[in-house]
Symmetry: C2
Subunit: 301 residues, 2 copies
């Protein structure tokens, strides 16, 4: 949304909020290659260099775990992910498409050997054939990953589908001693509902963001998730404090949420890139025309 150009004070405010709310883990950014992506065009949270992290969180002397996302094909993981003993990070989450499974498994093994908690996140599950999901799950089950995540990149999942996938993932993950997570997008205003459905079916970890902040339609809002979990360990109030102090200005700088363009790509089981382009272009708000461009113009049929 903003090329990872969040200011240090904002990142620190979200970090403080996560600590105060007793959230388990904060994903602080991406571990992508600064050779493949321009450091001039992208903010520090695209790369999460150790000095940038420590400038904001110090040695993170709190129970909050810090995670980074590393994409297969986009990160220089051998070099950029340091041994855990030298990093303030605790968790490495490996994101990949099914056809990148081999590199992802290499990344998972590498991160585990370096001392991290590790996740395997196969993206775009709704656009992946069953045999490829099964192949990835089998690979992840044999890998040293701690958690396997259901990733609804396109915001296409419906609750019934989420329940089916959660059972499928748990059936493979549990015997291997791994847990299942859910990463939902809000294209159809179902990120929270799908997260609930995953939890009901055995998922142990849910991704959420303050105010649902996230590219395109955004993600599961933390303030809804905490209200649902009613876990006495968790405190929802710091989330509302952080939202009121730091998100009003953000909402003036950028937009996210389930706008019709994102609903349409979600319904179509498509990547939101066309919707993002439409929201940013002069065609913004021309919903019917955008609908035709995604689903095909049937107005003359």
């Amino acid at each position: 949304m903003n090329d990872h150009l969040f200011g240090d004070r904002f990142v620190r405010a979200v970090y403080d909020c996560c600590v105060a709310a007793h959230i388990d883990t904060m994903e602080i950014g991406y571990k992508n290659s600064d050779e493949k992506f321009s450091p001039a065009k992208n903010g520090p949270w695209k790369f999460c260099h150790e000095e940038d992290l420590r400038r904001v969180v110090g040695d993170n002397d709190t129970p909050l775990k810090l995670s980074c996302m590393a994409d297969a094909g986009k990160s220089n993981w051998k070099k950029d992910i340091w041994p855990k003993k030298d990093s303030v990070l605790d968790v490495i989450r490996v994101a990949f498409y099914h056809y990148q499974l081999e590199e992802a498994l290499d990344m998972i093994r590498d991160a585990k050997e370096k001392g991290y908690e590790v996740w395997g996140n196969m993206m775009a599950v709704t656009d992946t054939e069953e045999k490829d999901i099964d192949r990835c799950l089998a690979g992840l089950a044999e890998s040293p990953a701690d958690t396997i995540a259901i990733v609804d990149s396109y915001g296409t999942l419906l609750p019934e589908w989420t329940a089916y996938l959660t059972k499928k993932y748990v059936a493979v993950a549990a015997p291997a001693g791994k847990t299942v997570g859910i990463h939902a997008h809000n294209n159809q205003q179902l990120a929270f509902a799908n997260s609930i459905e995953a939890v009901r079916n055995g998922a142990m970890t849910v991704d959420a963001s303050l105010g649902g902040l996230g590219r395109g339609a955004g993600n599961c809002p933390m303030e809804l998730l905490l209200g649902f979990l009613k876990n006495p360990k968790l405190d929802i109030r710091p989330v509302f404090e952080c939202l009121e102090r730091h998100f009003h200005i953000l909402q003036n700088q950028m937009e996210w949420g389930p706008f019709p363009e994102f609903m349409i790509t979600g319904q179509a089981n498509k990547h939101p890139r066309a919707a993002i382009a439409a929201r940013e272009g002069i065609e913004r708000g021309n919903y019917a025309e955008f609908y035709d461009s995604v689903f095909g113009d049937k107005s003359n049929v």
Copy 2:
């Protein structure tokens, strides 16, 4: 949101959209008493006088059914609801709180005798004790109502709760030859998810509005519902056309949607009136303070 002051052209646009989308029924407004509510302060859709309806929809020479909501305690139903043969309306929906059951049953019988399709909508189901829900269901089952609706006035329902209630309502309604409907509010971004859950459990009618338009957090967005139903009879494109032509200006005039204040009253199982007041007052956006006012200030505990 606007004291029912929608302009005729806007109402006609929504009507045309419903016809083009092949939606079953359009609720065009309320049948409330113009003795209890000021016609000077409220627009025509608060009262739905026959001449106002016909000015916009003529004789409604389409398959679209038109409905009106009549509130127990707020409508002069004996006088204001005309015999069906004299009205362009097809459906009367009777809204009531559990303690108004007796008047509601009188209203239902009256509307049925006048020739209408009739609904019984017991409001605030999440704030109604089980014995009172059962009492109302038993009364509605014996009444001539055609449909009994689950009404989540506070936006508090979670999908699992919705499933439970739907099964409960269907168990009473089906043997009596009646169907079940769902009226969801979007405080927790669950209006669509709860509607899906109700349909999965036997609800036959879902309330939705274009763009989720509705007081406070709004309702289930029609554009999401139609995308889910994939009913070949229904056409989603006119909804996007109506949204782009007529709703952008509306969004500049008023606000609706799952803002944090509405999430908080939804989580608290409370009527949204405090949240509406907070959004309209100078305390707008002070989420943590509003949270304290609803849940009690625990910051010093």
